[in-house]
């Protein structure tokens, strides 16, 4: 992608509320943005360090609950609540990252699933705090001075800013020696260690940043839907994130954003076009086709197509697997 394409995309994203007429379309755009943040978060772990976290909804849920509880029970305003939500999710990421050092691959996957399961059970059973399965209604909309983010258009820009920030963080990290260290651990851990890459440090760092971003997504979700329930820990959220990352292109910067957009818009588009059964069928068939024909994801495939006849295409970052 050239610089001009990038500016065009940014301009498109910034003016989107002008193009979208109905609030429903704007709602889809907001959800795509929130899932964009979540997918970027998962990609940092799955795409760059190669560790699959199937409990990512836990960090999302921790962010959502923390933010909701602080604003509801302690009357905090949105911004400090958001900061604490991100920090708490990061702390959880720290512990999971420490665990990841002892457990890799399938064992790490199991631990993350269990972690999400435990956190979910806490949210259901600690009724005094979380109101149990009934959830917490009435989460306030954020405000900044005199402006409220009550309208969809305003909230869209808030989510867009979060998306942009997350993308920037990922981009800076990936294109630095930190990103190279993460990829080195994914590609060949013993060799990475032999040249001084500290496994502990970098796996924990990736887990913390990833969890913090998921927490950010969770907080944004809570204050958008204005309601948090144990459903935020549902396994489907994690699976959706994984689909977005894998279909978009794991280990690429744009992949999760493309994946999140596609897999938020698509089910909604199908909903309008067909009955429920046909929707699920079409969704499933598309997923199988994607994995079958574009195993590395949409973005790497697009990069190759656009490079066309030119000699081997340059990746848009030196450490990105194509």
């Amino acid at each position: 992608m050239t610089r001009a394409d990038g500016w065009l995309l940014a301009a498109g994203a910034l003016t989107l509320p002008l193009w979208l007429q109905s609030p429903y379309h704007l709602h889809v755009a907001i959800m795509a943005g929130i899932f964009g943040v979540l997918a970027m978060s998962l990609n940092l772990l799955l795409g760059y360090t190669g560790q699959l976290s199937l409990g990512h909804a836990a960090f999302f849920g921790i962010g959502a609950y923390t933010s909701a509880l602080l604003t509801l029970k302690l009357d905090w305003s949105f911004w400090p609540a958001l900061a604490v939500a991100v920090a708490l999710a990061a702390l959880a990421g720290f512990f999971i990252g420490r665990l990841a050092l002892k457990l890799r691959g399938a064992y790490f996957v199991l631990v993350t699933i269990s972690f999400a399961g435990v956190i979910s059970l806490v949210s259901i059973n600690w009724i005094e705090l979380t109101n149990g399965p009934l959830g917490l209604p009435g989460v306030p909309a954020p405000a900044l001075g005199p402006w409220s983010f009550r309208t969809k258009t305003a909230y869209y820009y808030l989510v867009l800013a979060a998306c942009g920030l997350s993308y920037l963080v990922c981009r800076r990290l990936v294109m630095s020696r930190i990103g190279r260290a993460l990829v080195a651990l994914r590609e060949n851990e013993p060799l990475a260690e032999s040249v001084g890459v500290d496994v502990t440090h970098y796996l924990v760092l990736a887990a913390v940043v990833s969890a913090a971003m998921a927490g950010l997504g969770g907080s944004l979700y809570a204050h958008y839907t204005r309601f948090v329930s144990p459903e935020v820990f549902l396994f489907t959220y994690t699976v959706t994130m994984v689909i977005m990352v894998v279909a978009g292109g794991k280990g690429t910067l744009a992949g999760p954003v493309v994946g999140a957009t596609l897999f938020t818009v698509l089910p909604e588009a199908l909903r309008a076009a067909a009955s429920w059964q046909w929707q699920m069928l079409a969704y499933g068939v598309l997923l199988v086709l994607l994995v079958f024909f574009l195993p590395r994801g949409i973005v790497p495939w697009l990069a190759r197509v656009m490079a066309g006849s030119q000699a081997p295409a340059e990746p848009d970052s030196p450490t990105i697997r194509r």
Binding site: R177, L191, A192
Partner: protein, 254 residues
């Protein structure tokens, strides 16, 4: 100076290293040879932290290395390569070497997020260092290619480049010439000599006797987890115990 004292490694009931002691003179090329299963690679793994020895001590300039993680040992300037070809396959030769330069960089998490001129300058400096190392091993024309796309001999050179990028003071090479053609081995031998001229200490495990005898200052012979001989290449070639270890008992006994 790298010193190994009474190093012992046991896997359950199997003794891989019984009690190995040797010193590697700074600025020398020292080879470790021995029949298969003599414990050469085990010794390498124990020295570089990939294996926790059952007993004994490894020190560098008097400071103990035993018990440190491999990355911490690399930080002290002791860098190794692996017997089986070990590169970052999906990454370009340049990225491979840039990872090797990891410890040359200083930018931490917040510096990276903040960006700025110093970060850009550091990245540029790392790139030019990477280029220099790649040119040194003669892979300048392959810089942009994925390591996995390279021929076997070239991949071994990438491996060497990655290790050299880490700016070692002691370089441990595990069979750098294995599986290479004669002319490729000559290239590797030449590189090892040039590396030594730059002041590095080289410790290598190698099976190719012509290569070992051609470049080593000192040769250490391992057999059955013990050092059975140590000396100049000429002395080793004439050593009766070495001949016995390599050719069998009857050949050595006259």
């Amino acid at each position: 100076m790298l010193a190994v004292r009474d190093l012992a490694v046991r896997f359950g009931g199997v003794t891989a290293l019984e009690s190995v002691s040797f010193e590697v003179r700074p600025g020398s090329i020292t080879s470790v040879i021995g029949p298969n299963g003599a414990g050469k690679t085990t010794a390498f793994n124990a020295i570089t932290g990939y294996l926790r020895p059952t007993g004994g001590l490894v020190t560098y300039d008097g400071a103990p290395l035993t018990g440190l993680r491999p990355s911490a040992i690399a930080r002290r300037g002791i860098v190794r390569t692996f017997q089986k070809t070990s590169v970052f396959p999906a990454l370009s030769v340049e990225d491979n070497v840039l990872i090797g330069l990891h410890l040359r960089g200083t930018a931490g998490f917040f510096a990276v997020l903040a960006g700025g001129r110093r970060l850009t300058a550091e990245e540029r400096a790392l790139s030019s260092q990477a280029r220099a190392v790649i040119d040194f091993v003669g892979l300048g024309h392959r810089r942009r290619e994925a390591a996995s796309a390279l021929a076997y001999g070239e991949q071994r050179l990438v491996e060497l480049a990655v290790a050299l990028a880490a700016k070692p003071r002691v370089l441990l090479l595990d069979e750098p010439g294995a599986g290479m053609t004669g002319s490729e081995k000559a290239v590797v031998s030449g590189l090892i000599r040039r590396v030594r001229e730059q002041g590095l200490t080289v410790l290598l495990v190698e099976h190719d006797m012509r290569m070992v005898m051609g470049i080593s200052d000192t040769v250490i012979v391992l057999n059955g987890g013990r050092v059975i001989a140590e000396g100049s290449p000429a002395a080793i070639q004439a050593h009766p115990e070495v001949i016995r270890a390599y050719l069998g008992a009857s050949a050595g006994s006259t």
